[in-house]
């Protein structure tokens, strides 16, 4: 007898699955450079400057120029590095980041050319756990990359990363349990459907704040960017990387930010749903989700422009002594309310 670990709801033929996978991959990788230049421009505005505005109209071709620059660089590695791990580590980082994109629900099930097509990569009944599992693996990308570089700064950065990711994943997981208890499902599309009356960030506001804070730590963003910490660790775990492996790490980081933003949108901001009873046709759904993702992403940038980096012991005590008890309390209170 085969044990089912997780139900994956397939109702499309295999070729639709492949097309969906390719479309999601292509769209996300078209959005990533735009997000990077968007971040740099918005960050500039927060600091009363323009940001990149020289390459192309309004500087939108800046990431293109940089990718070309990175691709032309000579590949090299330090003599102290471990060769094959040094090459594999960025691949692990980018593969896990891309795999996590599959779960973002961009819209409901649509009828396209007589086919039932769900506007998401996969709809698994373990939903958020899939993302956490991949986040757990992506930590190997950071850890191996830092360790195999054979550099002190990289190693320090990856050690910090290991501790940080483990600490904050607990709070992140606990913070969304409140939503899962309320929605009675782990499927992300199911969670969105459960928000048709009210978006979960209103009843689960504490959980939302905890999730957001833990997400900053999970994606190594300011004020929790101790993994990179350019002022003290040069560049953290990717200090020794240049050229395309560096771009792989960069894209993995931004893909992770898209995933986390999309998780926040799906779990707390009603996914493709619009407030005030507006019900647009189904093809609008992905754009609604994208707009919401960009809003959450802008908030990430806003926080980055505002808060200074925490000290390492502050990071640890904040994660374990404040965030984790709060998340547990939120879970317990929600459970009591739902049960009664």
């Amino acid at each position: 007898m085969m044990i089912t670990l997780a139900d994956v709801n397939y109702f499309e033929p295999w070729w639709v699955q492949i097309i969906k996978a390719l479309v999601i991959f292509a769209v996300i990788f078209a959005i990533l450079p735009i997000l990077i230049v968007y971040e740099r421009k918005l960050l500039g505005r927060f600091q009363a400057r323009y940001g990149p505005n020289r390459v192309g109209p309004f500087g939108v071709l800046q990431p293109l120029a940089e990718i070309v620059k990175f691709a032309m660089k000579e590949p090299f590695r330090p003599t102290t590095s471990v060769g094959y791990l040094f090459r594999i580590a960025p691949m692990i980082a980018i593969i896990t980041a891309v795999a996590a994109l599959a779960i973002i629900p961009w819209g409901d099930v649509q009828h396209i050319f007589g086919q039932q097509v769900g506007l998401y990569g996969i709809d698994v009944s373990i939903g958020p756990l899939y993302v956490f599992a991949l986040a757990g693996i992506s930590f190997y990308g950071i850890m191996l990359g830092g360790w195999s570089s054979g550099s002190k700064y990289s190693f320090l950065g990856s050690m910090r990363g290991a501790a940080q990711l483990i600490s904050y994943e607990v709070s992140q997981g606990l913070s969304i349990l409140g939503v899962i208890i309320t929605a009675q499902t782990l499927s992300l599309t199911g969670i969105v459907h459960a928000q048709e009356g009210m978006w979960f960030f209103i009843p689960q506001f504490a959980g939302f704040l905890i999730f957001l804070t833990a997400s900053f730590a999970e994606t190594n963003r300011a004020p929790f960017d101790l993994i990179e910490a350019d002022t003290e660790l040069v560049g953290g775990y990717f200090t020794e990387y240049g050229g395309t492996p560096f771009v792989a790490y960069l894209f993995a980081e931004y893909a992770n930010m898209i995933v986390v933003s999309a998780m926040a949108v799906t779990i707390f901001f009603g996914g493709w749903l619009l407030p005030f009873g507006i019900d647009p046709p189904g093809w609008v759904d992905p754009f609604v989700v994208l707009a919401k993702i960009v809003l959450v992403f802008s908030f990430f940038i806003w926080i980055r422009a505002t808060l200074p980096r925490l000290r390492y012991d502050q990071l640890m005590s904040f994660g374990w002594k404040i965030l984790l008890p709060l998340a547990t309390l939120n879970l317990v209170v929600t459970a009591i309310i739902v049960a009664s």
Partner: protein, 178 residues
């Protein structure tokens, strides 16, 4: 005389709430929101950047830029008489003057002598304006041009002809009261 009362000038010091207390958490949250407001205000205000090659900051009338040599407007004779006071005043030692006698057939300056060679090495010049102060005939003044980058060092040695030529006004001048 009464002894000094210590309690007289005791000022109440506002202390921050203790770390880890509820008041501390409240304060941290409040300060975070205040910080977010500060950065958002910068977005609303817009950038303060001056897009340099396209836009330039106007200079003040007394701005000390590249030097100019002057002629008398009526006679067209050079004001410089080759006295070398500017070269003597120059702390960077970047001015070189070689004087020659004016003759009735070849009259160049209004004085007895004129500057046969007048060179300023702008790669050494510190733009202190002492040459302008030292000059007894106001023959040399500081202009407003500060865009002097060039490809070779020898191109930065400005000769008398270059300094006498009408300077290109590349720099906007600040108006009165601006």
């Amino acid at each position: 005389m009464t002894p000094y009362d210590v309690s007289d000038d005791v000022i109440e010091v506002m202390r921050s709430p203790a770390r880890g207390s509820a008041a501390g958490a409240y304060r941290t949250f409040g300060e975070t929101l205040r910080g977010l407001k500060t950065t958002l205000a910068r977005v609303v205000e817009g950038p303060v950047t001056i897009q340099y090659p396209e836009e330039k900051t106007p200079v003040y009338p007394r701005f000390r830029g590249r030097h100019k040599l002057h002629r008398f407007e009526d006679t067209g004779l050079e004001k410089c008489v080759g006295c070398s006071l500017c070269a003597a005043a120059c702390p960077a030692d970047c001015i070189r003057v070689v004087a020659a006698e004016n003759t009735p057939e070849n009259r160049i300056s209004a004085g007895e002598r004129y500057a046969a060679v007048y060179e300023i090495n702008l790669s050494r010049c510190i733009f202190c304006g002492y040459c302008e102060v030292a000059c007894p005939f106001d023959a040399i003044t500081m202009g407003h041009d500060y865009e002097m980058s060039d490809y070779t060092r020898s191109d930065l040695i400005f000769t008398k002809e270059m300094l006498l030529a009408e300077a290109i006004e590349r720099t906007p001048l600040r108006r009165e009261g601006e």
